[in-house]
């Protein structure tokens, strides 16, 4: 690792100032991704600006709109009682991120800003239709998460912006969500993952939200599948169609972790399994 400076601003204003002052500097949240990249010489910033000491970025406020501070660690997230009740799918999926040691430092904001197609918190947040709060000096904007990811390692964050919080609306009373992740071993980056949310009115599907991970340049909403499922009963035939549409919507690659074919198969099976689970096993 080459020599690097390290700054620990205690306010957003200070962080923005430093970022502007030091060209090429990078923000660091939990650091579990960027420090690996630095070790592997994939990036070599002259300075790191730590967001750990900025109190504005911490804390979880649960209300009509739930606000999760970007620097909330994954451990804090999964141990939060209100979140576990309101958004069990988020807690379930976040609990699959790395090891205890990683979860104790990795943050939800960092996980999103890393913009990996396999980000574990991205899928549940996508189906929950989360928004992210992006702040820059004197300005802030809310961006739906599905518009946040632009490409591998790329988001719509503008220079000088900081993702400060994740915002979640109160879930509809009859909404249910679940997720599945496939790794080579249990602690792994997903080689494919799926999350699904259904709002059912009896047999009728009022709302469907699905997302797939590690099968496209970004964590992907499966809009076509959602459209297919909404406004009608989810029959066996529709389920099979949903699987096919899901596979059509993704563009997986073959790499050291898995093959494109296998990833398609997993997405197909997991779409089915997630939906079956949400419907109590009987489409």
């Amino acid at each position: 690792m080459s020599r690097m400076d390290y700054y620990k601003p205690t306010s957003l204003d200070e962080a923005w100032k430093l970022k502007k002052l030091i060209p090429g500097s990078r923000f660091i949240a939990g650091g579990t991704d960027i420090l690996v990249k630095i070790k592997n010489r994939e990036v070599s910033p002259p300075a790191l600006i730590s967001l750990r000491s900025i109190s504005e970025l911490t804390g979880i406020q649960s209300g009509n709109v739930t606000r999760i501070g970007a620097m909330t660690t994954i451990s804090e997230l999964i141990q939060h009682r209100a979140l576990a009740v309101k958004y069990p799918v988020l807690v379930e999926a976040a609990g699959r991120l790395g090891s205890v040691q990683i979860r104790n430092v990795a943050t939800v904001g960092g996980n999103l800003c890393n913009c990996s197609p396999c980000a574990d918190t991205a899928l549940p947040l996508l189906v929950l239709e989360a928004r992210v709060l992006l702040q820059s000096p004197g300005k802030e904007r809310e961006v739906p998460l599905n518009e946040f990811f632009v490409g591998p390692g790329e988001s719509c964050i503008a220079a000088g912006e900081i993702l400060t919080a994740i915002l979640l609306d109160r879930p509809a009373p009859d909404a249910q969500a679940t997720s599945l992740k496939k790794g080579r071993v249990k602690m792994d980056l997903a080689i494919a993952s799926v999350a699904a949310l259904l709002e059912m009115d009896g047999k009728n599907c009022k709302k469907a939200r699905l997302a797939a991970g590690s099968v496209a340049p970004v964590p992907l909403r499966l809009y076509q599948v959602e459209e297919l499922l909404e406004n009608g009963p989810i029959t066996k035939a529709k389920l099979a169609e949903a699987q096919k549409l899901a596979v059509k919507s993704i563009s997986p690659i073959t790499d050291v972790r898995s093959t494109d074919n296998y990833r398609r198969q997993i997405v197909s099976v997991y779409v089915k399994r997630c939906l079956e689970k949400l419907m109590g096993g009987n489409p």
């Binding site: 579990t32 420090l35 690996v36 205890v100 040691q101 990683i102 430092v105 249990k186």
Partner: protein
């Protein structure tokens, strides 16, 4: 640029210097000569470098040294009692053969300690879940899980 740093290491105040490239692992092993903590992979996969920061298990290879400012860091060296005895968790690993080559052991024990501090009566499944981040190539984990269970029951007796 190196910056001064002070924190509590195994109960004692220490001061040191570090810059942005200094990992907590380097600070402990090189600057502070605490070589009990091992470096295994440098990217948070193997857990050999596990230490506790304010009671939480973290990979010291992915922890910027400057972030421990003002915090409490516990390493394997901090578990021994002052009369040169092993702690209950350490002794359980010795007695239940949870140790072979021993390179993963300090990290394993720190993870086990963090677990037992929060959950005095873990199930097998809970033990295996927290061990996900601690690789061992020698034991197949059987005797490590047994060691942690031994430690849990001895800790209970001691309470």
């Amino acid at each position: 640029m190196k910056a001064p740093l002070s924190f509590v290491l195994n109960g004692s105040n220490v001061t040191a210097e570090a810059d942005g490239s200094t990992r907590l692992l380097d600070l402990l092993r090189v600057s502070l000569n605490h070589t009990g903590t091992k470096g295994g992979c440098g990217e948070g996969e193997c857990g050999a470098c596990t230490v506790l920061v304010d009671g939480l298990a973290v990979n010291s290879c992915l922890y910027p040294a400057l972030e421990v400012e003002g915090k409490h860091v516990t390493t394997i060296e901090g578990l021994r009692t002052i009369d040169n005895k092993l702690s209950i968790v350490q002794q359980a690993f010795v007695d239940t053969s949870g140790i072979q080559c021993g390179f993963c052991t300090p990290g394993m024990i720190m993870t086990a300690k963090a677990l037992l501090d929060n959950n005095p009566d873990p199930t097998d499944e809970e033990i295996r879940e927290v061990l996900l981040g601690n690789l061992c190539r020698c034991t197949g984990y059987v005797q490590i899980v047994e060691s942690i269970k031994t430690a849990a029951s001895r800790l209970k007796e001691n309470r």
